[in-house]
Symmetry: C2
Subunit: 221 residues, 2 copies
DNA sequence: ACCTGAACACCGTTCAAGT
DNA sequence: ACCTGAACACCGTTCAAGT
């Protein structure tokens, strides 16, 4: 009779590190990087931290707050502006932000309704405002414009995110393309005329164009 | 002994109307209008239609498709453009769309990742393209610009939606405001300078300004 | 083809009771 | 104060079996 295999018990495992907000966020970040934000649930996180879901509520008010913390963590990897003209630097910065969020479309969606307020986000916002100021944009247009630019970048990442869920979205994209193709020029003359341009360009080209257009618009409005 | 009250049984109720996609969407629309999109779940809808959730999958592929149908339904209430100049009409149309979606922020969030392709949405898109064309905007800028304008309108509704969930968001808005107030002018000089303008203006003023800025930008980019 | 019961595999959050 | 087991009140989607 071979010795019965007993399941690894609590006391055989390495001592459970004490819970902390930072530890929680670190684990959440790892799960998000490896499997996407969908997998970062309170229950999963609790399991990974060897406790019950209720324990997490000592450190965050709710999932939205956790998502805000994750955004702030990602923002740490964003480089500050370089030394070119304010316009180019601004576009580069916002494009880098868009690219970063593009890898985490679910986070982008969450951020869109979040009003983030972490230190890294404030730094980022300050930099955008600074570049607009450097371009001579009056303070009101700079404030409203920075908001507009960040909203656009976030919404773009949320919309065209590139994780597995994008497979579904690709189906809908195809459905829209088909609907546009089949739209009769009689009832939809403008759609028919714009048919080819509606889906033209790469994501990068369109995003850069949009950022440029918004910057041009806000300086003259 | 008073007659025992028996619960209303299946056969005492009016004959169950046959399921149909239109019937489903109509009930979903009613629930969304009365209680918000959060309450429009497959299970709730099935209960309301006196069937099991599995039955709904005969008519829609998934919840995303249902949300697309709801948007198309709402779009039916949107008036076409009037007779003023293309610019004013375009802003009016997009503002009406924003206002409409503002009442259903969860739907706006869903639409942002949906690529809607319903007939009413195509009509709406065609109208936006038509107004830009009337303004002499070249077809490529019109196509990319229409996309940009619709994305902005949808994202704005998603962001500042006005249902009960807005109570939570108000808390986060307040937290951001507090963070901005407390941001030291030394480490966040641009935030400090823009402090007052960051939260100035009504939602309508800011949305109209943003739409105007984007239109100005896209015509010159 | 259309319809469904039941199951699969999960959720976020709260709360009373512990330490 | 910090932590937790257990419960509350739900989810979307699939699938085999019916009609």
């Amino acid at each position: 009779m071979s010795p019965r295999r007993v399941p690894v018990s609590r006391r055989d495992r390495p001592a459970k590190p004490p819970l902390s907000r930072d530890g929680m966020v670190a684990v959440a970040l790892r799960i998000m990087r490896e499997e996407g934000l969908e997998r970062v649930t309170m229950r999963r996180l609790a399991g990974e931290l060897d406790t019950g879901p209720a324990s997490l509520y000592v450190y965050v008010r709710n999932t939205a707050e956790l998502h805000g913390a994750l955004l702030d963590e990602l923002l740490a990897d964003l480089d500050g502006p370089g030394t070119r003209g304010w316009r180019d630097e601004l576009i580069e910065l916002l494009w880098a932000y868009t690219r970063m969020l593009h890898g985490y479309p679910s986070l982008a969606r969450s951020v869109l309704t979040l009003r983030p307020s972490g230190p890294r986000y404030l730094r980022f916002f300050d930099t955008v405002l600074g570049l607009l100021h450097a371009g001579g944009v009056p303070v009101r247009q700079a404030a409203w414009g920075a908001d507009l630019l960040l909203q656009h970048a976030t919404a773009t990442a949320a919309e065209h995110g590139s994780r597995d869920e994008a497979v579904e979205t690709a189906g809908e994209e195809e459905e829209l393309a088909a609907a546009v193709r089949e739209a009769s020029p009689d009832s939809y003359p403008n759609l028919a005329r714009a048919r080819d341009e509606l889906f033209s360009g790469t994501g990068e080209q369109r995003t850069r164009w949009a950022l440029t257009a918004i910057i041009n618009g806000l300086t003259t409005t």
